[in-house]
């Protein structure tokens, strides 16, 4: 924390700490829907992060350059009762956006990789990324109407996931379903980081 004169310090000390969870996956898989379902505020959208890879401010200011360098990211917020605020970042899943993932994934509590069984390969880059980065993640299969239902074990195999990566079904439009995915992720992250000496909290 950056300190200032005393009056400000008093105020600063009462600020909550922010935590983030990344929602990743291919295009159209429901990232924005999931962020919107659980966010307490209208989800916001930021349209660049390019300066973080060393592109000058002039470059990103130019709307003339509406090409693949412009990228949108949705985020929502959930205020925790105590001293934490949770931010959810829906990041575009394609490999060419990895440069911005680094900033988003840094310090993330964990990640949800959303998958669609009709285009399962779309989530490979996300799975790769979090495996490589050792960010705890779960795979949530968004159940689209009309999509063929697969056994979770089959999906786990198709994604070549280790047995330790939880795979679950979800409906990104339903708050209870999204809640459960996020709770499972937090429990998984605790396990991965070796924090489960205490009994695991009960499922809802």
């Amino acid at each position: 924390m950056v300190s200032g004169p005393s009056r400000r310090e008093v105020r600063a000390r009462r600020l909550p700490t922010a935590v983030k969870i990344v929602i990743a996956g291919g295009f159209g898989v429901g990232k924005t829907t999931m962020v919107g379902t659980v966010s307490e505020t209208q989800p916001l959208r930021t349209e660049e992060l390019l300066t973080d890879v060393g592109v000058g401010v002039d470059d990103i200011s130019g709307v003339e350059r509406k090409d693949s360098t412009t990228v949108a990211m949705d985020f929502g917020r959930i205020t925790m009762r105590n001293e934490y605020v949770l931010y959810l970042f829906g990041t575009p899943g394609q490999k060419r956006f990895w440069f911005m993932w680094d900033e988003v994934a840094l310090g993330a509590l964990g990640a949800v990789v959303l998958a669609d069984t009709r285009r399962l390969s779309d989530c490979f880059p996300s799975v790769d990324y979090f495996e490589r980065r050792q960010t705890p993640f779960v795979v949530a299969v968004n159940c689209f109407e009309g999509a063929k239902r697969y056994d979770l074990g089959e999906i786990q195999m198709a994604l070549n996931l280790g047995p330790k990566v939880p795979v679950m079904l979800c409906d990104a439009r339903k708050i209870d379903s999204c809640k459960q995915v996020l709770i499972d992720l937090v429990l998984h992250a605790m396990k991965v980081r070796g924090l489960v000496d205490a009994p695991a909290p009960q499922q809802v």
Partner: protein, 143 residues
Amino acid sequence: MIPPDDPAQDPWPEDPTPPAPPAEDRFLDEHAGPMVRPYVMTSGRIEPTRGKFDLITLVVAVGPEPEGTIGLGPEHLAIIRLCQNVMSVAELTGHLDLPVATIRVMLGDLLDKGFVSMQEPEPEADMHDIRLYKAVIDGLRAL
């Protein structure tokens, strides 16, 4: 840095290129971009004078929006106005529709002048605080 994929191989482009507008419609109104370029708001600076300002660094105004503009631009004042409630850097960029680098520079100014205070997030190395996980689970359950 990872070399970008060949866009031709990407079957699901995030932003399909919209059809080009007719020539006479180009660069009018909002299509012409902001009246004031972000680098003007920051006097050409690209790095904040203080602080790193992660996307989820939380910022709060120390006092009400100041009456006279003491070397502050309208965007600085907009930040102070928004930060009457605790707000993350990401939220500020979303609300003000400005690049995150611009917001960071302006936040550095405001921090220097004592108009805001901030709370950096837990660094990755400190993700071993069990209270954090329990608080998040409790918070999610209460949704």
